[in-house]
Symmetry: C2
Subunit: 283 residues, 2 copies
C-alpha cells in the first residue's frame, strides 16, 4: 500500500525518539532532525509504502551518526526479556485446548511488544490482555485448513523480542510441515536480523534466510534469489507485523497476516482500527 501524509509526522516522531536515545547533545539532535526533515520535505510520499518512506529518515540518521544499527541495544534487551518468558509461553501452549490457536495468539501478542524496555510482569500482562481480546478478523479456520495442504511455509518475521513468540508458533507448525524463517538483510528499526534468530536459538529449529530487505517491510520482487525461490515454492506465507503487511497486502499469494494494527491512518484503507488484533488471509 502507499504511504499517507500522516506517515511523515509519524516518521519524524520516530526520528526524535531515536535521536533522544542515541545522540547525547541536544544541538546535534536538532541538527540531525533538521536534515531528516529536509529530506522528508522532498519525498513524494504517495509513491511508496510506509516502510519505504521510513527508510529515507533512517538512512539520513545512519549517514550522519555513522551508527549502522540504531536499535542494537533495545533489540538485544527485548530478546533477553522474551527468552525468559519462553518456558511460560510453552506451558500456555501445552495446556491449551487448541495449542495451535494459542500459539497463533501468542505470536500476535509478541507483535504488541515494542522495543522499549519491558519488565517480565508487563510482558505477561500484555500476553494475557491479547489472549482475552477478540480478533477484529480471524481467518483461523481457513488457516488451519490450508496448513493441511502445505509442505513449506515461509514465516516472515518482524521484531526482536517478538521472535521468541514466533519460535513458539513455529515449533507447533514444524510438527506437521517445513518452515523457513525470514529476517531482514540489514538493520532497520527493531526488525529481526540473523543475529536475533541466533540469539533466540531459532536457527537451531528451522532454516533462517534473509529477505533482501533493508527497510521495515518486504517486497518479494526485490528479495534475494533464495527468498524469491522459497516465496514462489511455499504454499503458505505468514507475515508478521504492520510493516510487512503494508508491503505485502497487494501480493497474489496465500499469505496470512498476523499483527496488531498500530496506525490510526491505516484504517482509511483497511477498515481496521489502531489496537485491532488481526489474523487475516490475503485477498
Amino acid at each position: 500500500m502507499k504511504a499517507f501524509l500522516e506517515c511523515i509526522s509519524c516518521i519524524i516522531r520516530q526520528t526524535i525518539e531515536i535521536l533522544r536515545r542515541i545522540v547525547r547533545s541536544e544541538k546535534k539532535r536538532q541538527r540531525i532532525l533538521a536534515a531528516v526533515i529536509g529530506k522528508m520535505a522532498k519525498v513524494d510520499i504517495h509513491k511508496m509504502s510506509p516502510p519505504e518512506a521510513t527508510k529515507y529518515a533512517h538512512d539520513e540518521i545512519q549517514r550522519i551518526t555513522g551508527i549502522k544499527d540504531l536499535y542494537k541495544e533495545p533489540k538485544k534487551q527485548n530478546n533477553r526479556e522474551a527468552l525468559q518468558l519462553y518456558p511460560y509461553l510453552k506451558r500456555l501452549v501445552r495446556k491449551a485446548r487448541d495449542p495451535l490457536l494459542m500459539a497463533v495468539r501468542l505470536a500476535i501478542a509478541g507483535n504488541i511488544i515494542d522495543y522499549g524496555a519491558l519488565a517480565e510482569f508487563d510482558i505477561k500482562h500484555t500476553v494475557k490482555d491479547v489472549l482475552g481480546k477478540k480478533f477484529a478478523v480471524s481467518d483461523y479456520k481457513r488457516f488451519r485448513r490450508d496448513l493441511k495442504k502445505t509442505k513449506l511455509l515461509l514465516y516472515i518475521g518482524d521484531n526482536a523480542g517478538e521472535i521468541v513468540f514466533d519460535r513458539v508458533l513455529i515449533e507447533e507448525l514444524i510438527k506437521k510441515i517445513e518452515v523457513v524463517f525470514v529476517v531482514k538483510s540489514k538493520p532497520v528499526l527493531n526488525d529481526v536480523l540473523m543475529e536475533d534468530a541466533k540469539m533466540v536459538g531459532l536457527d537451531k529449529v528451522v532454516k533462517v534466510i534473509k529477505s533482501g530487505s533493508d527497510f521495515a517491510g518486504t517486497i518479494p520482487s526485490k528479495g534475494t534469489k533464495e527468498f524469491k525461490e522459497l516465496y514462489k515454492s511455499a504454499e503458505m506465507v505468514i507475515s508478521k507485523g504492520q510493516g510487512n503487511f503494508e508491503t505485502l497486502d497487494q501480493e497474489k499469494k496465500n499469505i496470512y497476516f498476523l499483527l496488531k494494527m498500530k496506525c490510526p491512518s491505516l484504517g482509511r484503507v483497511t477498515g481496521f482500527k489502531a489496537g485491532d488484533i488481526i489474523l487475516k488471509r490475503s485477498r
Copy 2:
C-alpha cells in the same frame, strides 16, 4: 517555556489535520505540507515557546491557501454545541455544594473539548468524566482566598466551545469581583476571538479585550497597550489551556492556570502527565 524537538512532529501532525479539512486535492495538500516541513526544518525550536513554533506552520498554510481563519467552521460549531449545554452547566453549578469549585471544574472540563465535532452526549460524558477526576494539582483553597483580596481579575481564554464553560465560571466570579475576558487578536487554531465572545454572549456579561497575540499563547510584554495595563493592575489572572500555560509559566504574576495537560513531552519540565487536570498557581 521553550519548545521541544517533539513539538515539530506534533506541529506537522496538526498541519496534516488542517490540510485534510480545508484542502481538497491530495496533491495540493502534499505541496503545502512540503512547504511547512521546509519551514520547520529551519526553525530553531529551542529559542521559542511551543505556540510560537506552531505559528511558523500556520503562517505558511495561511500564506499559501489565502485562508485567514483555518478553524472558522469548527469554532462556530463548537460554540453552538456548547451553548446548547449552557442551561445544563448552570444547573450543575446551582445544585453544587460548592458552586465556585463546580464552576472551576467545568471550566477545566471545557478545556478538554477539542475542536472536532462532538455530540451533546459526548460533551456531557466528558464533563462527567472531569467532574469525577482528581486534580493532579489543586491550589483551589488559595485561589478562593486570593479572590477575596481581588478587585480585578483578567481571564485569558483559550478555545471556542470552551468559552461557554468559561462564561459559567465568570458568572460566578462577577458576583464578587470585576472580570475582563481576553481573546486572541488574530485567528490561530481554535482559539477564541472577539467574534466567539460575541457569539456566546460573553461580551454582554463582562468586558472583552484582545491580547495582541496572533499565536496560540499569550506574551504580556508583546500585548496591546490595553492588555498590558489591565495585566498590570489585575490582582489575579486566570490562564486557560496549555498554550497560555506554555507562554505564561515564567511570569511573575498571580496567575492561576486551569487546564488539561495534553502533551506528553511537557512532563519533562512540569512533572505533569498528559491527561492531568490542573488548577495551579504560578510560582
